[in-house]
């Protein structure tokens, strides 16, 4: 077909009434309102149903992502349709949005960075909803991973919002990523103790603790000769659900067992020696009632 014919056909196409006329047309407003008031609850409800279905059949994380994508997509379609009913033309609007977007982009770099970081987080999935993560000094359970931020609930029940950009740039520890964890406890014993005996006692403590896993086996590793003690590292594996309870019970059981076995957990020791050319150290001998009884030098 000739190009001029196409242009003529486009020129003869019926044009929509001007924007001013449509804005003054009450039926256009009614149609737009109808779209908004019916469309938004519909999209909201639909996204919730789909989210629930995905959560049931997959994971909470995927359900949240699918639900939000569906809601934002539906909301966009409703807004564009409502504007079209009022006579707004999408082409010029998009052009204006492009120019406006550049201006807004400069003004809202942080927000845009958060949104893009949010997409990376959802794609990479270093953690999912309900995981426990540690970001900097904050540890908590992930409530949601949103476009701008990740929301956490700390163990003392505070709500923490961390911008996605910070999470992407920071070292994040997902505490609940793997099903089993190792609890490491540093144990110092007196130099007079036999390390083999101490090792046997520690392994027996782990064996008697119902929260400790038989396999992977608990370990006792020599760490070094400390200032006042021989230092050992005692590592016990448990399921991630039992980690907190094991951390609470195991040190108490070690202490009790050491007391039973007569194994000393020493305090820091200092041996003070006087040089040959210093004078004698003064010594005060005090009776049980606190009165000085004698002085020696």
């Amino acid at each position: 077909m000739d190009l001029t014919l196409l242009l003529q056909a486009a020129a003869q196409a019926p044009e929509a009434p001007p924007l001013a006329d449509r804005l003054g047309d009450p039926t256009a407003w009614i149609r737009a309102a109808f779209l908004v008031f019916l469309g938004f609850p519909l999209v909201f409800g639909l996204s919730k149903v789909v989210r629930s279905w995905v959560v049931r059949n997959s994971t909470a994380q995927r359900g949240m992502v699918v639900g939000k994508l569906l809601f934002y997509l539906g909301a966009g379609i409703i807004v564009v349709s409502a504007l079209a009913e009022l006579g707004f033309r999408l082409g010029p609007l998009l052009g204006a949005a492009g120019v406006l977007g550049v201006a807004l982009g400069f003004a809202s770099q942080t927000s845009v960075s958060n949104v893009i970081s949010g997409f990376f987080l959802m794609a990479e999935q270093p953690f999912v909803v309900d995981d426990i993560i540690q970001v900097g000094s904050t540890t908590g359970q992930v409530l949601s991973i949103d476009m701008m931020s990740v929301k956490l609930r700390t163990f003392d029940n505070r709500f923490v919002r961390i911008p996605n950009e910070i999470i992407v740039k920071s070292e994040v520890t997902t505490v609940t990523r793997f099903p089993i964890r190792r609890l490491d406890i540093r144990v110092g014993v007196s130099y007079k103790e036999d390390i083999g005996t101490v090792r046997s006692v520690l392994l027996d403590v782990a064996d008697r603790n119902p929260l400790a896993l038989m396999d992977p086996e608990p370990l006792v590793i020599f760490q070094g000769y400390g200032e006042s003690s021989v230092d050992l590292e005692f590592g016990v594996w448990t399921t991630r659900e039992n980690f907190g309870e094991l951390r609470d019970t195991l040190p108490e059981q070690i202490k009790r067992r050491f007391d039973q076995e007569g194994i000393e957990i020493p305090f820091p020791h200092r041996t003070v020696q006087l040089a040959a050319d210093t004078g004698p150290m003064p010594v005060h001998v005090v009776s049980s009632d606190g009165n000085p009884t004698a002085r020696s030098s």
């Binding site: 099903p179 089993i180 119902p210 896993l213 038989m214 396999d215 399921t239």
Partner: protein, 255 residues
């Protein structure tokens, strides 16, 4: 299995109404069952000579006729055991081992319908992990060892004898150090007061090919004509594959 009334088996139905409670010993587990004001009371202790320490009670429906039923059941997780001594299964070899698994007691209230109340272990197993550090499953560990032969003295009333046929179809010798027994796929059978499980055949086909499990669904040849006590909790699928031999190796690093 002993009850306070004599040598009567604890398995089956017991009438609690009009009786002064019911005391049962199933291996190291001691149970006391009572009916009080239409409720089922249960106290249990798993240490010899100790008074029942843990008590639980259930308010029942009007349908309850005063009887309860005790049935044996396998633990609710796979069981990991060691052979008497670790051995190698050379290429193409077969070995038959017998694993004694401590049973659980499943308690139900009887009436027009059976109402499940609780399952309690006769022996409390330790937790152990089977798999890798990234994924796997939580299992029970029991001090019982897998044996190469069966003797009369091995049978106890709270233990189920599980015959396992091992086959090494890989190109390499296979070390048998620990075995995970997936008891959820096994049924329980009774013969002359002895409790058996159906035979499991474990075919190791190599590290990449994995292990294939087959459960016969019938009493083992050692117990011909045994009666079915409890059917398997899980249905076996054809070509069931599961990690049976591998285990976690030495650990890792210390910081």
């Amino acid at each position: 299995v002993r009850s306070s009334g004599g040598s009567r088996s604890p398995w089956g139905a017991h009438d609690l109404r009009g009786a002064d409670g019911l005391d049962l010993e199933i291996g190291p587990l001691k149970l006391r069952l009572e009916e009080r004001a239409g409720e089922v009371w249960l106290a249990r202790s798993d240490s010899q000579g100790a008074a029942p320490a843990k008590g639980t009670r259930w308010a029942t429906t009007d349908d309850w006729d005063g009887r309860v039923a005790l049935t044996p059941a396998f633990p609710d997780r796979p069981v990991v055991v060691e052979p008497e001594g670790a051995f190698w299964l050379v290429r193409g070899a077969r070995a038959r081992i017998y694993v004694r698994v401590p049973l659980w007691v499943h308690l139900e209230a009887l009436g027009q319908e059976r109402t499940s109340l609780v399952s309690v272990p006769t022996v409390t197993g330790s937790d152990t992990w089977w798999g890798t550090y990234e994924e796997g499953e939580l299992c029970y560990w029991f001090a019982t060892s897998a044996r190469r032969s069966v003797e009369d003295s091995l049978f106890q009333e709270h233990l189920a004898m599980c015959p396992v046929q091992l086959e090494n179809r890989s190109a390499d010798s296979l070390p048998i150090e620990r075995i995970a027994l997936r008891v959820g796929y096994l049924s329980l059978y009774s013969q002359n007061g002895r409790i058996w499980a159906d035979e499991t055949t474990v075919r190791y086909q190599g590290e990449a090919e994995g292990t294939q499990l087959d459960v016969t669904g019938q009493p083992p040849p050692e117990a011909p004509g045994a009666d079915l006590l409890v059917p398997a909790r899980l249905k076996t699928t054809r070509g069931l594959r599961a990690l049976t031999f591998s285990r976690l190796r030495a650990v890792q690093g210390w910081i």
